[in-house]
Symmetry: C2
Subunit: 196 residues, 2 copies
Amino acid sequence: MIKYPNGNKISNNSKSDPRNKDVVSYGDRGMNLENRINLSNDYYREKDIAIIYKKPTPIQVLHIHNTPSGSNKIDDAYFLTPSTTDYNGIYKGRYIDFEAKETRNKTSFPLQNLHAHQIEHLMRITKHGGIGFLIISFVTLNKTFLLDAKIVYEHFVGEKKSIPFTVVEEKGYLIKEGYVLPLDYLKSVDIAYFNE
Amino acid sequence: MIKYPNGNKISNNSKSDPRNKDVVSYGDRGMNLENRINLSNDYYREKDIAIIYKKPTPIQVLHIHNTPSGSNKIDDAYFLTPSTTDYNGIYKGRYIDFEAKETRNKTSFPLQNLHAHQIEHLMRITKHGGIGFLIISFVTLNKTFLLDAKIVYEHFVGEKKSIPFTVVEEKGYLIKEGYVLPLDYLKSVDIAYFNE
């Protein structure tokens, strides 16, 4: 069977990484996890609470086309595997680093959603005195949790294929959702790491 | 006069941002600043001294072409203006954030090399308890300095067009260069921020 090449048009607003296997389509139902975190980070920055950004998706540029208008159009490039996590920054003087993932699974978070070096990166951050965690959104359950990197690492080195939802619920911190501040994950950080 | 479009082939090894106006070509003479910092960061990570990475260059992807082999080839995209700085991470439990620039200028560092929001970002980092600075390489003088964000900010708000070399030399910290560790900028961080 021959697969003919076809094209995918990327929406200007979608910053989602199209390589995600466990992609969740929202349509009119709401925003995806990435957009909710980005809006929350905007809120935190505006209120001068924290300076946290999403890192750009790593792309290897192979060819640039110089248009007559003088702008540079990239016409040959490909996605690279990220070396680290998607988000980092500073909160209450501490270095913050996390990855955010959605799943449609109702009973567990499949670890195949993460690269091994992302988990190792988060552990290194923890070792160096930073705060490293995962934000896991169980889409069908409408619940989003903060889970410390150590819990993720324990399951990963224990060669578990997934982290049961019950473990996420017990060891993680449910993130408060809202309208202006879609995901108040720093409130969970306060409870988990600042004993507040 | 009509400018005809032409193409630029990007080397696989070059991760430099082609938008830099003050581009320095090294050829066989040595490595550019970005490569030297990346190698230094690799060294710091390998020795477990610090976890610092360069952020990917932000690119807006407009179109992806699905090749018959199943890989995703980006065939329409453009460079975005970075919101923040190029490098961040953690060192001795502290959040580190910096931008790195080269200049061929011998008497001053032109501030047009920086975006206003990059300078503001570094000041915000400082305010939140992080360490924010600039690495400035005077290519023709063969000297590279660490300069605290506050000094940069003072010149920027003072509507100066540049920071004189004499100021960089007096207020900044000369970075030790080497072979295995091309730019030992964390030694300068120790002196500037840890009083070591």
